[in-house]
């Protein structure tokens, strides 16, 4: 039995058979394997039925042989639908272009909103956004995805602690949380200044309060450097101590540097492939073949296409293969030592405050084991060692 569904594709017609020998006509049709269906008698000498379009031509000899008359009443199926569409090309074209335009417009950026930023940061951010290519009228599937935009925007704008990017339909929302530096509070409460570490005093400068130490004194952690008590014995007054005490502190740091270093860098060569994914089937559009790099990094960018508010099961993918190169660097022992000491210094400076000065360094110990240079370095650092300690008075 032929399926009606396939007939819809190939087309079929309803015919009217008029004549005395309609049954004979039917029998001959069957014999010739012409597919007819839905046969109905409507009058004394009239039968109507459907015939597949492909078999219509084969009807002619049977019609002649059986002396019946055949009239075509209806035309159904895709071939006739196409013909009808062709005769109304303007209407159909309009419909198709409407859907296409609607589809394109629902994949465009329509608005970019920035929230929570001060005018200056907003200006900066909108510049960065423009640089990234996020403008009204750009296609969403050509832009980097939201996480990447967020990462880029956050890294480019220092004044903002965090920038949250969300794509809401066709609108990009940027939520900015700005860094608010704490305002310097004038010391209002009475306090001492004490040592934060074991140190030897290098210099002392008292603004307010009473200096308790002199240069070359040794202090332990928590020892009072500048006292908040002022005035003479018996007539003590409380004041917030202010001043600077520079102390010499010793740091010991250990570093190890491997003699042979392996690291990979991107060479700048890249190959990009574009593809469309329907449901789970990926169809490449541009950029075929595997990249001919021996080592590479894959950078994937996937964008869902949308229609109005719905996400279609169609994805636009851009895959970049970035060529990687592994390099091996070997140090001689002297080089390794130099690098180790500079590394240690950098690390130490990062840990120290802004005003710290490294006064001297001394390598205590150096060994080369397992292809690594290990160093132990002693540093003399001069830095401000004061820490405020509020005076709590017992009643």
């Amino acid at each position: 039995m032929k399926n009606l569904w396939t007939n819809t594709f190939s087309g079929y017609t309803r015919i009217k058979i008029v004549g005395n020998y309609a049954e004979l006509f039917l029998n001959k049709c069957i014999h010739e394997k012409i597919s007819i269906w839905q046969i109905r008698r409507v009058g004394n000498e009239v039968i109507v039925c459907y015939v597949a379009l492909v078999d219509v031509k084969r009807l002619r000899p049977i019609v002649k042989a059986t002396k019946v008359k055949v009239y075509f009443i209806e035309r159904k199926g895709m071939p006739f639908l196409f013909k009808k569409m062709l005769s109304r090309i303007g209407f159909v074209g309009g419909l198709i272009s409407f859907i296409t335009i609607l589809f394109l417009l629902s994949n465009m950026v329509w608005n970019v909103t920035i929230e929570g930023a001060s005018p200056k940061v907003e200006h900066q951010l909108s510049k960065v956004i423009q640089e990234l290519g996020i403008k009204k009228g750009k296609f969403l599937f050509l832009l980097p995805n939201v996480e990447e935009i967020q990462k880029l925007a956050t890294s480019k704008i220092d004044a903002a602690t965090w920038i949250g990017v969300t794509l809401n339909g066709t609108t990009y929302h940027f939520r900015v949380v700005e860094q608010t530096l704490p305002e310097k509070q004038p010391p209002v409460s009475d306090r001492h200044l004490v040592a934060k570490k074991k140190a030897i005093i290098h210099d002392i400068f008292v603004e307010q309060g009473q200096g308790k130490v002199a240069p070359n004194d040794f202090v332990n952690k928590g020892e009072v450097l500048i006292s908040g008590f002022i005035g003479k014995e018996g007539d003590l007054q409380l004041a917030p101590a202010k001043g600077k005490v520079l102390g010499e502190i010793w740091y010991k740091s250990k570093v190890s540097v491997p003699l042979v270093n392996k690291f990979s860098t991107l060479t700048g060569e890249k190959k990009t492939q574009y593809s469309l994914t329907f449901f789970n089937v990926s169809i490449p559009i541009w950029g075929f073949g595997k990249p001919q790099f021996s080592e590479y990094e894959i950078n994937d960018n996937q964008n869902r296409l949308r229609f109005l508010k719905w996400e279609l099961p169609i994805q636009y993918n851009r895959t970049s293969f970035l060529e990687k190169e592994t390099q091996i660097r070997e140090y001689s022992k002297e080089e390794a030592l130099r690098i180790a000491s500079s590394m240690a210094k950098e690390e130490l400076l990062k840990k120290l405050g802004e005003n710290a000065v490294i006064k001297g360094e001394k390598v205590l110990h150096e060994t080369v084991t397992n292809g690594k240079v290990k160093l132990m370095i002693h540093y003399q650092v001069i830095e401000d060692i004061t820490v405020p300690q509020p005076i709590i008075q017992g009643d």
């Binding site: 039995m1 039917l26 049709c29 269906w37 839905q38 109905r40 039968i47």
Partner: protein, 100 residues
């Protein structure tokens, strides 16, 4: 010779439990309520109207009576009829028609 052939076939159907419609070219008729009738192994349409369908069989004819008949599908040996079926009648003629 033809008679012998028939006898052998009949014997095989009986003894070997083979379906009769396959062995002996008999029509196989399936009815679904009053509304559908499915006939296999027919030999052509003799008459078709709204109230009646007369089919040629290997032996004799099959007459189906009812109302609002529509032939849904028709193939060389199969036929699906739709409508309100009232009677299914076998017409046995003494002299079987020799028609191909």
């Amino acid at each position: 010779m033809r008679k012998l052939n028939k006898m052998v076939r009949k014997w095989m159907t009986n003894k070997m439990g083979l379906p009769a419609d396959v062995m002996m070219d008999l029509p196989r008729i399936t009815m679904i309520g009053q509304f559908h009738i499915y006939i296999e192994n027919h030999r052509g349409v003799l008459r078709f109207t709204n109230q009646e369908l007369r089919l040629l069989l290997e032996q004799g004819q099959l007459l189906i009576k009812g109302n609002n008949f529509v032939i849904k599908t028709i193939l060389p040996e199969e036929l699906l009829l739709e409508g309100l079926i009232e009677q299914v009648i076998y017409i046995n003629e003494n002299t079987p028609k020799k028609k191909q």
